[in-house]
């Protein structure tokens, strides 16, 4: 085994993080470089037909081993997948009917969405992007609370502290640093909280992506950076975004381990994420996981995907649909039968139905609330402005729900 490279120059002391990597790699019997670099190929367990790939062809190897999750976990994941797909398609329809202001759909990426939620413990934290509605719902947040922002009622409708889910917002990769801070606070208090931070392929170009990975590695905090590489940042393909061999290769530059996984393979996504969360917690160190997936629908309703990709490409990805693959696999393994599948479909239908009803009802807005949370104690100017709006509202007639 290669000896780790050390620098003895004064002022160039070897970072302690590196020694953790050395320890981890030694325990796997491989070099630190072999540990930090992703495996030769992306980790894949199900082929596009939903057949289990022989273990020696899954891309795994020493230090890159990913046990298949237990059947009950896989069934739970399938349940969330079905619900997630239904939620995506229901919301897409609600946008077309004008009931939602906007909805960035994760149709096609549901395996990543579900995996990100299911790999965490209750005490862990999840930091999603604006496209990760299904993750947030899979984590247990009330779908109606999540949709508050997309209906245009308020910016964030759920309590981030209740489910330990960061607020969804649109600046790219800023939430990765929040994840580092949450993990660091927990570490200072001696808690073993793991934080999973999500972003997309385009977002890896942002400065905060770099700063977050670097801070996490230097601070030795258990953050799993989970990149959903869906091929496009709105219209710009990954090839215009990065010249790296893969996004997972960026990890070694920070002194952390990186891995690539087939993002449309629910089994592999869950297996790699669970292992990453476990390693992060055990060793108090960050990891980077890149899931290769595809956004089947336009960026949002305001986007015209035909301007930047052809139908054939989309059709090719349709054949790798995460839901069908998982369904075929679970059925062939005897984990899923028709009766259970029907129950799962029915449950998803009920979620969709409640979304339809709620998003069709008129919300009870209180316009004066726009002043109420800016400061813990409102400034004199905001008190005066609130009174002004209140007066305007009284003169123009009552507004529904106004206090």
């Amino acid at each position: 085994m290669d000896e780790p490279v050390t620098t003895a120059e004064p002022g160039h002391a070897k970072a302690e993080q590196a020694s953790r990597i050395f320890e981890a790699s030694r325990s796997f019997g491989i070099t630190p470089e072999q540990y930090m670099l992703p495996a030769q190929q992306q980790i894949q367990m199900l082929d596009p037909e939903g057949t289990l790939i022989p273990s020696d062809q899954q891309g795994t190897g020493p230090g890159h081993e990913y046990p298949i999750p237990e059947p009950e976990v896989l069934l739970k994941a399938y349940t969330a997948l079905v619900a997630g797909r239904r939620i995506n398609d229901q919301n897409y329809a609600l946008v077309r009917q004008g009931r939602l202001a906007v909805y960035p759909s994760s149709h096609g990426q549901e395996a990543c969405q579900v995996g990100a939620a299911l790999c965490l413990d209750a005490g862990d934290w999840l930091f999603p992007t604006y496209r990760d509605t299904v993750s947030v719902i899979s984590r247990g947040v009330d779908p109606l609370e999540v949709m508050v922002s997309f209906r245009g009622d308020w910016h964030c409708g759920y309590n981030p502290k209740e489910h330990r889910v960061g607020s969804m917002s649109t600046p790219l990769t800023t939430q990765l640093l929040h994840a580092v801070g949450v993990a660091h606070a927990a570490k200072l208090r001696g808690e073993d909280t793991v934080v999973l931070a999500m972003c997309g392929d385009g977002a890896t170009s942002e400065g905060d992506f770099h700063e977050a990975l670097n801070f996490a590695a230097v601070f030795e905090v258990p953050v799993v950076f989970f990149v959903q590489n869906n091929g496009y940042a709105i219209s710009v393909p990954l090839s215009s975004q990065s010249a790296a061999p893969s996004l997972a290769h960026k990890a070694i530059g920070y002194g952390m381990a990186g891995e690539r996984v087939d993002g449309n393979d629910m089994v592999a996504v869950l297996a790699t994420l669970r292992r990453a969360v476990h390693l992060a917690r055990e060793n108090s160190m960050p990891l980077l996981l890149e899931a290769v997936t595809y956004r089947m629908q336009a960026h949002t309703n305001a986007d015209d995907e035909t301007r930047y990709r052809d139908r054939e490409e989309v059709e090719q990805w349709k054949r790798k649909d995460p839901l069908l693959r998982m369904q075929r696999y679970l059925t062939s393994e005897g984990i899923l039968d028709d009766a259970v599948a029907a129950e799962i479909t029915e449950a998803a239908e009920q979620v969709a139905s409640s979304l339809r009803q709620a998003m069709t009802a008129e919300p009870a807005e209180n316009p004066l609330e726009i002043f109420d949370h800016v400061y813990a104690e409102p400034t004199a100017q905001l008190v005066a402005q609130r009174a002004q709006l209140s007066d305007e509202l009284q003169r123009t007639g009552p507004t529904q729900g106004e206090k």
Partner: protein, 345 residues
């Protein structure tokens, strides 16, 4: 704020800030300090001197050299129960952190309907007058004051350096704390233990929201109000002293806090004197001085005997060290403004 007695020792602005942090860290384990060079070195201005030695590297620590990273990490730590105090090494070095500060620090409480508040302090050494090179002397307070959701404090005295920083740490809202770097080594006959007693005698609620928003009359006068804050208060006081020799009695108001903004104190002094000159180092165009002037016009129009004038930095990028004296408001420029206040009418 300050009362002088014979027994008082001399305290620097820098040690008042340092003691405010160490007292807060002593009182509350969730208070942590981090930034560039704040640990072993004690900060390039030594404001965090000794904190790592006393509280350990988990409470006061150096970060990688990345301001957005510092601010964004502080957001996460505040979400998870800590009260971070972060240091931006210089005013202009904070600009990489502006996205985190504008889009998250300022908006998190509003975005989450008050469920996630960020009790954090962003300390920024600011302003000129110290012979600093480009990017080391900006007066950037207007950017932050313009952003709803941030509080913006700037002490001008040693006593306020201690008391206002303690209040900034206590408040549930994020505070951008502007430290006039030319005042760091200024001294006053203040005793730190007395300042600590003043702080501790205040009720907990008022520590969080009380005096921080209130301007202070730092010199009484009858004829004109000179309104200022931060590094310019000292200049305003010197101008008032010089004006007295010319028979003009000038009142000097130190705003202390830009957000919250003490409009009532502004109205009181201008209604009393009928004339006003606003003094600030920052460029005058679209500035805090503009806002002060506009508020006086809105609220005190009928009390005014002359137009409200501003004495500010010119609308230029901060000049190089040998030229900064031409840019900064000084006593003569303030006296010239006083002369223009239509005294004959």
């Amino acid at each position: 704020m300050s009362t002088t007695t014979a027994t008082k020792t001399t305290t620097t602005f820098a040690s008042a800030l340092n003691t405010a942090m160490s007292d807060a860290m002593e009182a509350d384990n969730s208070v942590v300090v981090f930034g560039e060079d704040v640990g072993t070195l004690g900060g390039v201005f030594r404001i965090t001197d000794g904190l790592t030695k006393r509280f350990g590297t988990s409470r006061c620590f150096d970060t990688p050299l990345a301001e957005s990273g510092i601010a964004g990490t502080a957001v996460g730590m505040a979400i998870n129960g800590m009260r971070p105090i972060i240091e931006m090494q210089f005013d202009a070095f904070a600009y990489p952190a502006l996205e985190q500060i504008f889009s998250h620090v300022a908006k998190m409480a509003n975005r989450t309907r008050g469920r996630v508040r960020l009790p954090m302090v962003i300390r920024i050494p600011y302003g000129g007058g110290v012979g600093g090179v480009e990017h080391h002397c900006d007066s950037s307070e207007a950017y932050y004051a313009h952003t709803a959701g941030l509080k913006v404090f700037t002490p001008a005295t040693v006593a306020d350096a201690y008391l206002m920083l303690r209040e900034a740490i206590d408040t549930e809202d994020p505070v951008v704390f502007f430290e006039p770097k030319k005042l760091y080594w200024s001294k006053a006959a203040e005793d730190l233990s007395t300042l600590r007693e003043i702080y501790e005698s205040r009720a907990e609620d008022s520590r969080k929201i009380g005096a921080q928003g209130q301007a202070a009359v730092v010199r009484e006068g009858q004829d004109v109000s000179i309104i200022s804050y931060g590094p310019s208060v000292e200049t305003a006081l010197k101008a008032a002293e010089a004006a007295a020799e010319d028979g003009i009695s000038a009142e000097v108001l130190d705003m202390r806090s830009i957000v919250p903004f003490d409009e009532d104190a502004l109205v009181r002094t201008v209604e009393k004197t009928g004339r006003a000159v606003v003094v600030a180092e920052a460029q005058g165009f679209v500035s805090v001085a503009s806002e002060i002037t506009a508020r006086i016009q809105e609220r005190c129009f009928h009390s005014l005997a002359s137009p409200v004038l501003r004495v500010t930095g010119f609308d230029i990028p901060y000049p190089s060290p040998k030229l900064e004296e031409h840019h900064l408001p000084d006593v003569d420029r303030i006296l010239d403004a006083l002369d223009e206040l239509q005294w004959e009418d």
